[in-house]
């Protein structure tokens, strides 16, 4: 009855009979999350930390094997810091900033992702997905111990759902037989092939790319490769039309070969054939152990709507991109970051139901941005027509010698947080001279602050951040409070705080959302304006 779809890296939540299974009528929960992957676990953390009771259902008993996602972006680490588990990720992860692009045996381009100081987090860490999930789960356990109402139920497979006006009924299969639950809100974090999406008969439209990629994760202890992202177009060692090499913790290296569309998967996945490609690349004298391998093809697509009444989709179930750019798990974390506080306010009656429509508005905007970048990278890496191949090659030709062509070279535009420009929760941008990077809709840029960092002081609730400006300690509008964080440009002698939030202005007042995005900003405190912006940010006007 329970056929595992994959082997486990960590068995974390073995099946245990829940009291709900013995209830005579289905027990109703405020939130049920389906899927215990990174996005489902993060969703549970976000809600549980707010005190919102949440039940996670997963059809396995832990985390699947295989490194899969490996690049976790700065914004993801900032979100993890807000949840309390950024530290272990940073400690375990491999920090990298430098990417190099080669053609044949020549370097054509290199980029440094974070040439700016004053951020707690690096541009990226590489970390095998099972570790990322394990750190989230350990944080869930820590929150549970502190009383957070989070339950994670292994071997609970959703067989059917019945959406109603104000709840959803779930039919769940377990090793002890079936039972039913009801949820005020159901969050579908069940991955790219989302069974819930299929059960509801919902669309998932987009483009299929006609190429396949062979991933090999290898353990290599005496490697001379540096901790950088190396990407080859038409590599001299001929192991693929393109190749990516990237370091992970535990002396593991990710190698990714582009091997064409019409391939015999079983044949290509034979160890001797994988080794032939690796030996050509690394040289016959290099010793390595093959740890994990897989072949993937990919698509760029999304659901038209992420919200369907009381069912809300987050992560890969809602959108899927190519891996170039690390925009899969990282965008899913931004979904959770966006949805968590909104759901919290709606459940507590502090905001209307339509606040959740802004989740759809903001995150489809994010998904479109990710799909656009991902599609462009893919078109560059795997040109579709003879003429686009000719232009791609012309760019690479010129990039070796001429600076102008290098920024066109696209081996993946790496994930940065989405700015919700022009969307409906934004209030006014009334800070003349204020920097563009912290305009309404932006994720707050980090800055050093008295031995710590600014982002540690933001988020969770609404914040009224003042920079050399007066304001009351708190403003409460229709049940929602914004608490003041009083700062001065002088608090950061490096000048980064002023550069990132004041620009040429002498003072500033920012209304910051619980997800650390800027809702509105002014040059001084104006009670009427702040109250109006707080209403707008909660979808009340």
């Amino acid at each position: 009855m329970f056929q595992d779809r994959y082997d486990l890296a960590f068995r974390l939540y073995p099946y245990a009979r829940a009291a709900d299974q013995d209830a005579p009528t289905p027990v109703r929960h405020p939130v049920v999350v389906v899927g215990g992957g990174p996005i489902g676990l993060a969703m549970a953390l976000d809600l549980g930390r707010q005190g919102v009771p949440v039940v996670v259902l997963d059809d396995h008993e832990g985390i699947g094997q295989g490194s899969r996602a490996i690049c976790f972006a700065k914004r993801t680490l900032e979100i993890a810091d807000r949840y309390g588990c950024g530290g272990p990720m940073r400690d375990k992860g491999v920090v990298w900033n430098l990417g190099k692009v080669f053609r044949d045996d020549r370097k054509v381009y290199e980029f440094n992702l974070l040439p700016e100081d004053g951020h707690r987090n690096p541009a990226f860490i590489n970390l095998q997905q099972p570790y990322f999930e394990k750190f989230l789960f350990e944080q869930i356990q820590a929150e549970q111990a502190a009383g957070a109402p989070i339950q994670v139920r292994g071997r609970n497979r959703v067989e059917a759902i019945t959406p109603a006006e104000d709840h959803v009924t779930l039919d769940i299969e377990t090793p002890d037989g079936p039972y039913r639950l009801q949820a005020d809100w159901l969050i579908a974090c069940d991955g790219a092939s989302s069974p819930l999406r299929s059960m509801m008969g919902l669309d998932f439209e987009g483009r299929v790319f006609k190429d396949s990629f062979l991933i090999a994760d290898i353990r290599m202890t005496d490697s001379t490769f540096p901790t950088e992202r190396w990407f080859w177009f038409e590599p001299w060692f001929k192991s693929g039309a393109s190749t990516l090499l990237h370091k992970q913790p535990d002396d593991i290296w990710r190698v990714d070969f582009q091997i064409g569309w019409d391939v015999d998967r079983a044949e290509e996945l034979k160890e001797t054939n994988i080794r032939a490609r690796l030996d050509a690349m690394l040289g016959p004298e290099v010793d390595y152990e093959l740890v994990w391998s897989s072949i993937y093809t990919f698509q760029c697509r999304r659901m038209r709507n992420f919200r369907h009444g009381r069912v809300i989709f987050a992560g890969d179930s809602a959108h899927q991109v190519s891996p170039f750019g690390a925009r899969g798990a990282n965008s899913g974390m931004q979904d959770v970051d966006n949805l968590g506080w909104k759901l919290g306010l709606v459940l507590s009656g502090q905001a209307p139901d339509r606040l959740l429509d802004s989740y759809n508005e903001e995150r489809t905007h994010g998904a479109d941005e990710n799909i656009r970048h991902s599609t462009r990278s893919t078109d560059f890496i795997t040109p579709k027509t003879r003429v686009s191949q000719i232009f791609r090659d012309a760019v690479l030709d010129l990039a070796e010698e001429y600076e102008f062509a290098r920024p066109i070279v696209n081996s993946g535009r790496l994930s940065v947080p989405c700015t919700y420009d022009g969307l409906s929760l934004n209030g006014p941008d009334a800070l003349p001279g204020g920097p563009s990077r912290s305009r309404p809709g932006s994720a707050c840029p980090d800055a050093p602050l008295g031995g710590g960092y600014l982002l540690d002081r933001l988020g969770g609730g609404f914040t009224l951040m003042t920079l050399d400006a007066e304001a009351p300690e708190a403003v409460t509008e229709d049940g929602v409070t914004a608490s003041r964080l009083a700062l001065s440009a002088a608090d950061d002698p490096t000048g980064a705080l002023a550069a990132r939030y004041l620009g040429t202005a002498a003072s500033g007042v920012y209304l910051v959302r619980p997800d650390q995005h800027v809702a509105a900003r002014w040059d001084r405190y104006d009670e009427t304006a702040v109250r109006a912006a707080l209403r707008t940010a909660c979808a009340k006007d």
Partner: protein, 67 residues
């Protein structure tokens, strides 16, 4: 508002044209296409302005759609 300048700028149009043809002399069709692609990229970067380039792309495309 049109910004692409389509008035004549060549001091010696025949010289330019002869140079353009001579630069591809003896190239295979494949090599010639690569030559054209490099030339387009070099000149497009020199122009830089997105609106001007978009206009040039639209005029070039209209020519293709008429043929």
């Amino acid at each position: 508002m049109a910004r692409l300048d389509t008035s004549s700028h060549f001091e010696a149009p025949d010289e330019f044209y002869a140079g353009l043809i001579a630069a591809q002399d003896g190239l295979s069709d494949e090599a010639c296409l690569a030559f054209c692609a490099r030339l387009i990229l070099l000149l497009a970067n020199h122009v830089g302005d997105r609106e001007v380039l978009d206009e040039a792309l639209a005029i070039a495309r209209a020519g293709a759609d008429q043929n």
